[in-house]
Subunit: 435 residues, 2 copies
Amino acid sequence: MSIDIPETNFPRVVIIGGGFGGIQAAKKLKNKEVQVIMIDRHNYHTFQPLLYQVATGGLEPDSIAHPLRKIFKNQKNFIFRVAEARFIDGEKKTIITNIGDIHYDYLIIATGSNSNFFGMKDIEEHAMPMKTIPEALDMRSLVLQNFESALLTDSLSEQEAFMNFVVIGGGPTGVETAGALAELKNHVLPHDYPELDIRRMQINLIEGGPRLLGAMSEQASEKSENFLKRMGVNIRTNERVLGYDGEKVELGSGKALESKVVIWSAGVRGETLPGINKDVVVGGNRFKVNTFNQIEGYDDIFAIGDVAAMITEDFPRGHPGVAPAAMQQGVLVAKNIVKKINDIPMEPFKYFDKGSMATVGRNRAVVDLGFIRFQGMFAWFVWMFVHLMTLVGFRNRVVVFVNWVWSYFSYDRGTRLIIRRFEKQADKKLDPIEV
Amino acid sequence: MSIDIPETNFPRVVIIGGGFGGIQAAKKLKNKEVQVIMIDRHNYHTFQPLLYQVATGGLEPDSIAHPLRKIFKNQKNFIFRVAEARFIDGEKKTIITNIGDIHYDYLIIATGSNSNFFGMKDIEEHAMPMKTIPEALDMRSLVLQNFESALLTDSLSEQEAFMNFVVIGGGPTGVETAGALAELKNHVLPHDYPELDIRRMQINLIEGGPRLLGAMSEQASEKSENFLKRMGVNIRTNERVLGYDGEKVELGSGKALESKVVIWSAGVRGETLPGINKDVVVGGNRFKVNTFNQIEGYDDIFAIGDVAAMITEDFPRGHPGVAPAAMQQGVLVAKNIVKKINDIPMEPFKYFDKGSMATVGRNRAVVDLGFIRFQGMFAWFVWMFVHLMTLVGFRNRVVVFVNWVWSYFSYDRGTRLIIRRFEKQADKKLDPIEV
């Protein structure tokens, strides 16, 4: 069953995914002689770099989401549908979705990535991922529910399990989440829960490699470790996680950590789609693409961003899974498709590394810009400025800015709300409340 | 099983419900020689008067909610638990809750009210209530999902059913919701859905009585009707609703309206609790109280706000179910409990009517302050000012203010996001998307 989308005389470019890459590709096709169709599971774009602030009560979910229709409201050749792609039929040039089939002339797969549990089913079942807004909201609820639950038990060891947070993965998300939890511990929770001894709250950050922020400079790793330690985070590097059953995290070193909240930020895998030749799915579950982002063996199907692996001499494992790489590929693929339509040779991708940064807490961030590296308060201001400017939508920028200024001066987090209870591993002994 | 709450030498006052009344009662007991325990199903206070703005995408849910623990973080004699009261045992002076039993010396029931469907099961099943934040979020999702669904059908009549909104109940909530939907229709949706003919969207406001805003002056009713008509709302007064099966609203006049979104704001009933003598539950499912808010026949149990009916000569049907009445009763009950403990005679309640108001849209509101009545732009500014000042929490005030200023100048609504799909009556033909 084909879905009802107006036909035009122009070639049709279908973009799957409204993330950083997909949006740039669609924007770049404005006023070009193509019909642009975007589909996404959500009707909004998610600004993933700030999800951890939603999860820790610093920002409201709506502040980091932006309606996709609104972004493109002035783009006449753009059509949007809320839909989930299920299968690509490269022969028939058709995408099978939950709302029907969509024909394409050119296809851009910009589906991004999802949490990679490396096959560990028990972790997938019990740990909290943090890749979508509903997941971040579930984590926010769970963190707060656990403190409420800690109040209901006499057992000190059970209380400590409720207050023991384990963050797995020492990349930017893990570092930022651990830092935000430490700020909750130091500034917010003692006021909210005077009956609990919040000093007993633990934040454990576990990293398999030898240092945090492995993709950044050693200087950044060292500084972020110092910052986190000073804020009270226990860091365990060179430590593998073997399993988590909802109660206990088993570590490669033989130790075990009793914990009711385990946050998983140890890896991602591309959100590939069935139908494409499986042989071109490489490490990290990504589509192998050439320098024009064409999937190997396909002339009219492009993959960009986290779901693409463009293996070159400089990037033997593909480009980093960050917003700038996806955005640059989105822009270039859009240009190349127009060139292809007009029989002009396409341009190969060249990554412009904008540097990388991570924030640990107030006045504490680390920034690597090529050989320029700095840490501390100025880095923190740079981090905030860059993130504010990258947020989609002026209103979101204003609201996030107001929230940050407010938090800075009040040492407070505004949104400690359990809007919907998270039931996955809520205390089973409790009779659930109907809300 | 009794729950673990520290005992003190002071009498214990338990407050069930953290709404307008409960908060005032607890605040007034600060620094008094009592132990205050508040329980609520949620860990936050909901500012109900602005729920309709969350439902229509004007405000973020967090902006109108405030963590209860934060409100009382400096009140030493205050203890909070997330819990649901299930039964009151007046003999044993005990509340049975989902987390265990709680003993009280004095009990304040401030549970408020919930939607009253007057026994119409089909309406309860299919219509959208709007009394809690999750309900408002569900309505927001459903409104947007319906426009997405309208795009997927060829049938004009089905498309119109998706775009036909029926608001039942012409009180302030109904009037404000209808007005907000009309603004979406006039300013926002045509940009978001250029493929749909939004002029075909209908907003029907149905009221059983002869006029809208029946509790306000005739002048306010007339003006609000004029405002709504000019904005394109179809008003049907003196019209009863007989049923709604998820597809069709049956009216007393014999007509039927095909609609996929029916919003129910036609009545509330007190959230009484079992255990209390049933004979004292009067009209509107409220506890009959004396002028000290004591439930008839109980010396140590007080009911305030929407769940209380204080029948007097001036108020033969009890006081209006508005925030000021609940707040004033909360303050007085707290004072009276302290008096009672010290064997000082209690003071009877005297309602101070602060007037009433409702907003219809930008520059359009109606205000009754005793004999002073005004409508239009100035009324609208008064409405905004009063609501901003009544919001709990300075941060919430700032964020709501920024949002309102933004909407005013941009004619836009920020938060058109389907964060969690509402599945109750989503188009059954669609394969659901896992989000």
